[in-house]
Amino acid sequence: MLDSPRLTIAVRRDRPPVEEHRSTTASDDPAQRRDLILLERARDGDLDAFNDLVVLYQDQLFALVVRMVPDRDQASDAVQEAFFSAFRNLRAFRGGSVKAWLNRICVNAAMDTQRARKRRPVSPYPELEDESWQPPAGESADPERTAVNRERTRLLSAALSEVTDDQRTAIVLYDVEGYDYAEIAQMTGVSLGTVKSRIHRGRLALRALLEDRMELFRG
């Protein structure tokens, strides 16, 4: 079993660049330099500069938040609120990575939405039945494989939405966004042990939910 060619260990995406928390000077990374220049101009009142930052990161931030809040409209509201919050607090930016700063704001907004959802539950995940907001398959894609991939995505998305908010947040930040335990602990305001526990329990919960359909994942 351990030598099976089908067994793969998840390879995480490239980790986010290490932040230089104390420096407000431009780093060697051109993207960071660009972001800092746009942020400085936004601080001086240039709305177009701020909107350039929005354009750069709105896709990635929406993709993050919608995995944490499995309701498209509420996720959109959370992302919009996050950008409002970033705009209001431009002067509070202390330096480092603008992208990471925006990520933290979005995670907080998503967690606020999760808490609100607990107080006012809505009917779960009708968007999972609507494929219009999923990326289209390529022209050369095998139809059968495409169908299997879509079904796997649908099942996994449904399972993710059924675990607890905390577990989902931890798994999305770890597996999808590539943050490590310490970064997730800082973003979510809990201890390292709690992050590990949430990821551990979340994984087991996902496996329990998908146990009957694991053949889709085994290839």
Binding site: M1, S4, L204
Partner: protein
């Protein structure tokens, strides 16, 4: 045989298994996790499934947004805080559902108490200074005088007038009478200080934690 095996698997530390997920170096070849995987087929199967799920999660397609999140001029106009909101921010952020209302309430009570404690004293002092010239006309000729106050009036007239006028106009407490600020004044200052202190302290704590704030890391 299946039952004892299932029971034994239930006692295994599954966190050892899940902790292997995400390591790019591959499965550890020694240690408690490796021994567990070699001795328990259920653990090995669990690891395989968890790895597949983690890989699928990693590869989840990004979902398309249906809205453009750029800010408009209308947004900016609404986002600029009014003077009132800037004042409220002294007492904490809008996310403080308990501490901010408490801070605002304490500060308001403190300000109200200060007003109640100090305004009557002010008007009493004014009334005394206005009454003094009338008293001077009773027995003695009208003479120009300085305004009655703590410095003591210089009044021309009969000694009797002087005594009466100084008694009325001079607010200086006499020996033996109660001294110091009123209890209401003290309580008001305490309330006001508590309210402002609570709000400012809350802000400082949140910044020190660096969590759940929209601000960058200090």
């Amino acid at each position: 045989m299946a039952e004892p095996r299932a029971t034994e698997h239930a006692t295994h530390d599954l966190e050892l298994i899940t902790s292997l997920i995400g390591r790019t170096a591959g499965i550890a070849r020694s240690g408690p996790a490796a021994r567990l995987l070699q001795s328990c087929p259920d653990c090995a199967s669990l690891l395989a499934d968890l790895a597949l799920i983690a890989a699928a999660t990693h590869d989840l397609p990004a979902l398309h947004r249906s809205r453009d999140f750029r800010l408009t001029l209308d947004h900016v106009a609404r986002l600029r805080p009014s003077a009132w909101r800037r004042l409220l921010e002294v007492f904490g952020s809008s996310g403080d559902t308990l501490s901010r209302p408490v801070a605002v309430g304490l500060s308001t009570l403190g300000l109200a108490g200060l007003l109640v404690a100090t305004v009557p004293t002010y008007f009493a002092g004014s009334a005394a200074s206005n009454a003094a010239p009338e008293m001077r006309t009773i027995d003695g000729p009208l003479v120009p005088t300085e305004a009655a106050g703590a410095g003591g009036p210089t009044i021309a007239g009969s000694p009797r007038d002087t005594v009466v006028q100084s008694d009325i106009a001079d607010p200086t407490p006499h020996p033996g009478s109660p001294t110091g600020p009123s209890p209401l004044l003290v309580a008001s200052v305490v309330l006001l200080t508590s309210g402002v202190g609570l709000g400012v302290g809350r802000i400082l704590v949140r910044r020190a934690r660096g969590n759940h704030t929209p601000f960058g890391v200090v």
